[in-house]
């Protein structure tokens, strides 16, 4: 039996994301849809595993907006549904979300956003808490693993009670951390879908699901949100712990609650500092806030990343100035805490210590000095493509074609493992100077290609992964074709959504539920819009380079090269070497070779190392994935590959 279906009252170790999934199951979830993105992916994955037993429909949608639309349809039909994404996914879904919050929902609909303060696995640390305020929907933030489950369950009830979307926000340190959870009951019955739309336009239970008449519906929407404030006043997810009259009140939410608790403990301040932990962070319950703000004159607000909670608390406090008098607020705005990056117990303890004028017990000075001396010896470990990664070969080909062309062409980057080509420029052989959101590489390329009239005549290339292609590239590609943008568009097709853990996408014949589904062919789509399409294996350096060179010479249209080779970590490849690769010492000329260590200085594969004693290249067989590409780059043919026998 899956751990996710553990019986009621048992205690299990759940990852935050599993706790959220379990909460949804306990709420009687029917439909879940999402798009993979760290740190959110395990929610949909774990729900897909139990879909059959729990009679769920679970899908990986092409993007977050479509996922929210799929979830909304279920809600309109009276079912409970959930839509899951990472922080920037909310931006993708936001246009529909604006209209959805205006039309309202029926069956409980919870939007889960898992955010990444500090950008541990993102190229942004965007916040979507502001969406909750802007779109006037309730926002819940769990601060423990148990709460991640319990709040999710309650979110469905809340959504149904107010007839609108509820946003539940987690962060990396909650979603990808694990902790104890006591399971609740799983409901025995599932719901049947029924969609009524013949009633009056203002009747949210039986009328059509539309956002008009806008002002009348907006009025109703705001009235519902006022009702949420009342529920939040009494919610057990908002709790105070600490002395009756603290010298300082910490107001916090999410995992920052655990950091704050720990900081108080580290400084021995539990008799002087209290914590108001909020599980419900928008709209703020005014009476509850007033009650606790009256306890003291000094308030520290601990949150990630921006000053969302702090701003909202200050607005409330300003409105109660007469009853409450003025307060001193510490937080992001006065610089007590940083408003970039993630927090941790040390950062919170430092802020707390400064305000309370308490020093933390530190390590012996001599020991700290020795640690610092040791730290200087540790080499930086730069991110890079894995051994055997097809992207390394793809960028090797791209770099060589650009160099041969000689006009200093460049690649507009996109989101996936191949983003590393921009993040660690040497890894992408210095070809990729732009990197933004999903699909933006193709849009930017389309724009750069139209600058020829302004004297900009470099060849423009762009890359995207297979999953990214379906997510947001297609409109930009059509734009390029229709507006005659001369671009070389390269699909780095590694047969799955590799970075987030090999979730299927529309190009594969399998769904999230492991059913056989029609695969949508990238080559056929590109050909259908009129682009010139070629397919190659990036490990075949000769053929791939030839195609790329001819594409750079071929002016005036969109050229598509699909580079197909499965990810080295994919389940079908992992642990299986195609080739045994070795360096022949007799052939390797080492530093005296005219190649200037092309293999170990430029190619940069973690498995191809430099033997300092022999001063020759060497393959680390434990790390080598056996792709054999390095055998093709050695001018001396000193790297030998032989077919591996299984």
């Amino acid at each position: 039996m899956s751990k996710l279906l553990s019986p009621a009252r048992t205690q299990v170790l759940f990852m935050g994301n599993e706790a959220i999934a379990r909460g949804a199951l306990e709420a009687g979830l029917n439909v879940a849809a999402g798009y993979p993105g760290t740190p959110s992916s395990e929610i949909i994955e774990s729900l897909a595993h139990v879909a059959r037993e729990r009679k769920l429909y679970v899908e990986w949608s092409t993007n977050e907006k479509v996922a929210l639309e799929v979830a909304a349809a279920a809600s309109f039909a009276g079912l409970r549904s959930m839509c899951v994404m990472k922080q920037n996914g909310v931006n993708v879904a936001s246009d529909f979300l604006l209209h959805l919050t205006a039309s309202g929902t029926r069956g409980g609909l919870v939007l889960v956003t898992c955010e990444d303060p500090g950008a541990l696995s993102s190229v942004n640390e965007g916040e979507s808490r502001y969406f909750a305020r802007m779109l006037e929907i309730p926002l819940l933030e769990p601060s423990s693993f148990q709460e991640a489950k319990d709040l999710t369950k309650w979110a469905f009830e809340l959504s149904e009670a107010i007839g609108n979307v509820v946003m539940l926000r987690s962060v990396t340190r909650m979603s990808h951390a694990s902790g104890n959870v006591i399971c609740g009951k799983l409901p025995a019955k599932s719901r049947r879908a029924k969609f009524d739309y013949d009633g009056p336009v203002m009747d949210s239970r039986t009328g059509p699901m539309i956002s008009t008449p806008v002002v009348a519906k907006h009025t109703l929407h705001q009235k519902k949100l006022k009702g949420v404030e009342v529920l939040f006043e009494k919610s057990p997810f908002n709790r105070y712990a600490g002395p009756a009259k603290p010298q300082l009140l910490i107001i916090t939410s999410s995992v920052c609650f655990l950091y704050s608790q720990e900081a108080i403990k580290m400084l021995g301040l539990h008799k002087k500092v209290g914590i108001l932990k909020l599980g419900c962070t928008w709209p703020l319950p005014p009476a509850l806030l007033k009650k606790h703000l009256l306890k003291t004159d000094k308030i520290l607000i601990v949150e990630e990343v921006l000053s969302f909670l702090e701003e909202n608390v200050k607005v409330l406090a300003a409105g109660m100035l007469k009853q409450m008098g003025s307060k001193i607020f510490y937080g992001k705005i006065d610089g007590s805490l940083p408003s970039v990056g993630e927090l941790n117990p040390d950062i919170v303890a430092a802020a707390l210590g400064k305000i309370m004028k308490v020093k933390r017990k530190s390590l012996p000075a001599d020991y700290t000095r020795k640690l610092q001396k040791a730290a200087a010896l540790v080499p930086v470990r730069e991110q890079t493509f894995c051994a055997g990664c097809p992207h390394r070969a793809s960028f090797w080909n791209i770099h060589n074609a650009i160099a041969l062309d000689g006009r200093k062409g460049f690649v507009c980057g996109d989101i996936g493992c191949y983003s590393m080509a921009a993040l660690s420029p040497a890894t992408g052989y210095h070809t990729m100077p732009t990197l933004h959101s999903m699909g933006s590489g193709t849009g930017l390329a389309s724009g750069f290609a139209k600058l020829a009239a302004f004297g900009f005549d470099k060849p423009i290339l762009t890359v995207c992964g297979d999953s990214t292609f379906y997510h947001a590239v297609i409109p930009a590609l059509i734009n390029a074709q229709h507006n005659r943008a001369d671009i070389t568009f390269i699909v780095l097709d590694n047969a799955g959504t590799a970075m987030t853990g090999f979730q299927p996408h529309p190009g594969l014949p399998t769904s999230a539920l492991k059913e056989t589904v029609p695969a949508v062919d990238i080559a056929a789509i590109c050909a259908a819009i009129g682009a010139k399409v070629m397919i190659s294996d990036p490990f075949d350096l000769e053929t791939t380079s030839k195609i790329l060179t001819s594409f750079l010479e071929d002016k005036g249209s969109v050229k598509v090269l699909i580079l197909r080779q499965a990810c080295a970590l994919s389940p079908e490849k992992k642990g299986k070497k195609k080739f045994n690769v070795k360096v022949n010492d007799a052939l390797c000329l080492g530093e005296s070779c005219g190649c200037n260590r092309l293999c170990t200085r430029i190619f940069r594969c973690p498995a191809l190392i430099w033997d300092r004693i022999k001063k020759k290249a060497l393959v680390d067989e434990v790390i080598c994935a056996g792709c054999g590409v390095c055998a093709s780059i050695c001018p001396q043919k000193a790297i030998l590959k032989t077919e591996a026998t299984v």
């Binding site: 693993f145 941790n344 040390d346 010896l377 170990t600 200085r601 190392i609 430099w610 434990v622």
Partner: protein, 177 residues
């Protein structure tokens, strides 16, 4: 294992892009009293298990203290900057002497070689768990491990994992008092 034994366990991890050739760290915390934060405060680690020597050193410099105990896989995985010659990697003896000086106790074992001998380098993680269990620093024993492996692994994988566990245990002779 530890949840069943009545502890609050918190594991803080990062995955995704942070895994691609970079350094990754997991924080494991256990408490009898309450949920702890998923990040260990600086200078407050009790045990460091390093799967690579320079990475163990990196972690020590942030989380180390005079009482910390360290178990390290001696197998070096060179950072790209070291391979290209832009950076240098400290010698193993240099690393070893730093650990001797700055920790209460340290073990340096070649878990990767043991795993390769067992047929698969990926087993080095289990070798390290076996070694960690043998140190008796944590409330984990072979029987509990055996149960956990049986629950999480395909039946044909159990034996090799137990052999890897035992190989690791065999590499630890001196137990801290």
């Amino acid at each position: 294992m530890l949840v069943t034994a009545g502890y609050y366990v918190t594991i803080g991890e990062t995955f995704g892009m942070s895994q691609r050739g970079g350094s990754v760290m997991s924080h494991l915390r256990i408490s009898r009293e309450s949920v702890l934060s998923p990040q260990i405060p600086q200078g407050r680690a009790d045990i460091i298990v390093g799967l690579e020597p320079a990475e163990a050193l990196r972690v020590l410099t942030r989380y180390g203290n005079p009482d910390v105990v360290v178990l390290i896989n001696s197998r070096v995985v060179y950072p790209i900057g070291v391979i290209t010659g832009e950076l240098s990697y400290p010698s193993l003896s240099e690393i070893e002497s730093i650990f001797k000086e700055l920790t209460a106790h340290s073990w340096l074992i070649d878990a990767t070689i043991a795993a390769v001998e067992l047929g698969n380098p990926v087993l080095s993680n289990i070798v390290m768990i076996g070694a960690l269990a043998k140190t008796a620093l944590l409330p984990i024993c072979r029987r509990a491990f055996e149960k956990e492996i049986a629950r999480n692994m395909a039946a044909d994988k159990c034996e090799i994992n137990l052999r890897a566990f035992d190989a690791g245990a065999g590499m630890i002779e001196n137990i801290v008092d």
